[in-house]
Amino acid sequence: MNFVVPNFAPAYAELFVAAMGVVILLVAVFLKQSARPFAYLASLATLLGAAFITWYTMDGQVSYTFGNMYIDDLMGDVLKLMVYFAMAVTLLYSRGYLTDRKMDRPEYFVLATFATLGMMVMISANHLLTVYVGLEMLSLSLYALVAFDRDSARSTEAAMKYFVLGALASGLLLYGMSMVYGATGSLELSGIAQAIYHQAGNRTVLLFGLVFLMAGIAFKLGVVPFHMWVPDVYHGAPTAVTLLISTAPKLAAFAMTMRLLVNGLFELADQWQAMLMFLAIGSIVLGNIAAVAQSNIKRMLAYSGISHMGFMLLGLLSGVVDGDSRLALNAYGSAMFYAVVYVLMSLAAFGMVILLSRAGFEAENIDDFKGLNKRSPWFAAMMMFVMFSMAGVPFFVGFFAKLAVLQAAVAAGYVWLAVLAVMMSLIGAFYYLRVVKVMYFDDPLDASPISASADLKLVLSANGLAIAVFGLMPSQLIESCVAALAGSF
């Protein structure tokens, strides 16, 4: 019965976000007219406040609290800062879109705040239970947000598919966790790592659990063969929600993968690397080939997201070669860099779709981008930056992200895998360049000037320019990713 009150200090950011989520919910109930602007501004303020807390409590130390269920390390802090940033930009982009469609109800922002909390819990999880609870908090918020446009049959169908498949994936993940617990006798990730290190037996049970864990992880990352939900959900959800799903949760999924596989099951790296290789090859091949056939830009970006996640896995699967983990830091750093860059590009790409949409009109077909250069040369250039960067054209940041993971794969001896990935990204260049082609060489279907609020235009421009500028000096970003991971091992 000797219980010590846990140290709350490392988790101040989580406590703040949780409290603010409840406060926004309560205050918005009592505000009549101003509830909508209040919820929007308060959720932005929450992200800003959480960023301050995380920034000022960031030190290179690894600390545990809540009975080792919570880990506070540099990787977690950096990923959390990226999550706040991605969520804030997402909310900024979505504001006008939501207002036009009467979807800017306070619940939207409350759910977005709790989704942020779920991601933070996943990022800082050091216990199978907290991984799962954080994941459910994120997923539940996302299911509801996908269906938020209640009168749209397409959104409801997408939410239903996402919910049913997501529940199945959570079930598989839980089953895998129970097997890992059965084999190691610990739910805590560092305890699992120690148990595997000390006892050689029961490998079969562990591997059996690992397969199920991997299925859950692959679903959350949206990689082949657990990718079926991605195009339908991206297409069916309101564009603002698609923007949300395709950005910050990818960072949380990356963190979950790192926590489960690297912090917990590092001793099994040979096995999970082989599994990741199948997932990566499938995603890169299917994502790039299927995207060619799409005429809807949200579906195209969904398939491109599948292939990007496959590329990210290239970094994760080249950490350990023949039991030698010297390359691990660089390999995982490249994967983290890829995830961060993908989020930056995805924000801008869906931001452009939102920019071209207006009340009663969704610019979701590639044809809607026709002749954008005549309507707005500046934003056509921004979209061109995004597409070039996603395609991996040199001197945009996406090129360096691809280069980093390919270097990691080659360093681990997977030259054939790198060659395959490059070939597939050449196929992928076709559909990215097609968007650039219709913007510059086709006549506009609709010559009206772009009507969007000044803050959307400003932040979107900054986002597009960031893709170009980071392309000129990528080394700092890569180094900070590697440095962030260095503290966690």
Binding site: L111, F114, T130, M137, L140, F148, G182, V205
Partner: protein
């Protein structure tokens, strides 16, 4: 075979048969009732594991609340069984192949060689005055307080989501707000008009 083992196998057999009937029963109400049976037998197995509180909670929460609600919903919905069964035969070969593969793998791994008594020794029986409920409460509110509070927030998210997705304020209904009706004052309803007296 001692009595405990016999009870375990009896519960396990009933549970598997009931679970099978859940997915094969033609009538959704029967399927829901078989699920209730499966929950009861699962509760029985937990009782054998000396997890009395969990067993009772399972029966109370799942059978008492969740399944009753579920039965109501099933009875109110007009479920078209033919549409649900559409495509059953075309999906069967692939589904059956994957299902059999998984069952085979699970039998190999979950068999006695890895989970037998020699690799997973039986935990010592609890002392006579041991309270399962008390221990659970102690752990939930001390060591597991972080995931416990997070789980409560997950439930809050579920509530917010349910309200956000289903609550509609309809305009033009003739429903009366009782609190407004009670709070009504004489002055709201009766207007005293002073009229000049008129002759004739």
């Amino acid at each position: 075979m001692d009595f405990k083992t016999f009870v375990f196998y009896m519960f396990a057999t009933i549970m598997i048969l009931a679970s099978l009937r859940v997915i094969t029963a033609r009538n959704p109400v029967h399927a829901a009732l078989f699920l209730v049976l499966a929950f009861f037998t699962a509760g029985g197995i937990w009782m054998l594991l000396e997890a009395e509180f969990l067993a009772i909670t399972l029966v109370m929460v799942y059978v008492g609340a969740v399944m009753v609600l579920f039965l109501f919903v099933v009875m109110m919905l007009d479920i078209n069984l033919d549409r649900i069964r559409e495509g059953f035969w075309s999906y069967l070969p692939l589904g059956a192949a994957i299902g059999l593969l998984m069952v085979a793998e699970m039998v190999i791994v979950l068999g006695g060689s890895y989970f037998g008594l020699d690799s997973m020794p039986e935990p010592p029986a609890a002392a006579a005055g041991y309270s399962n409920t008390r221990e659970l409460g102690r752990l939930l509110y001390t060591e597991y307080v972080y995931p416990f509070e997070l789980a409560s927030l997950v439930l809050l998210v579920a509530m917010v989501a349910a309200v956000a997705l289903t609550l509609r304020h309809r305009k033009g209904t003739k429903s009366v707000n009782p609190s407004q009706q009670i709070a009504v004052k004489r002055n709201d309803r009766v207007r005293m008009v002073s009229m000049p007296t008129e002759k004739e």
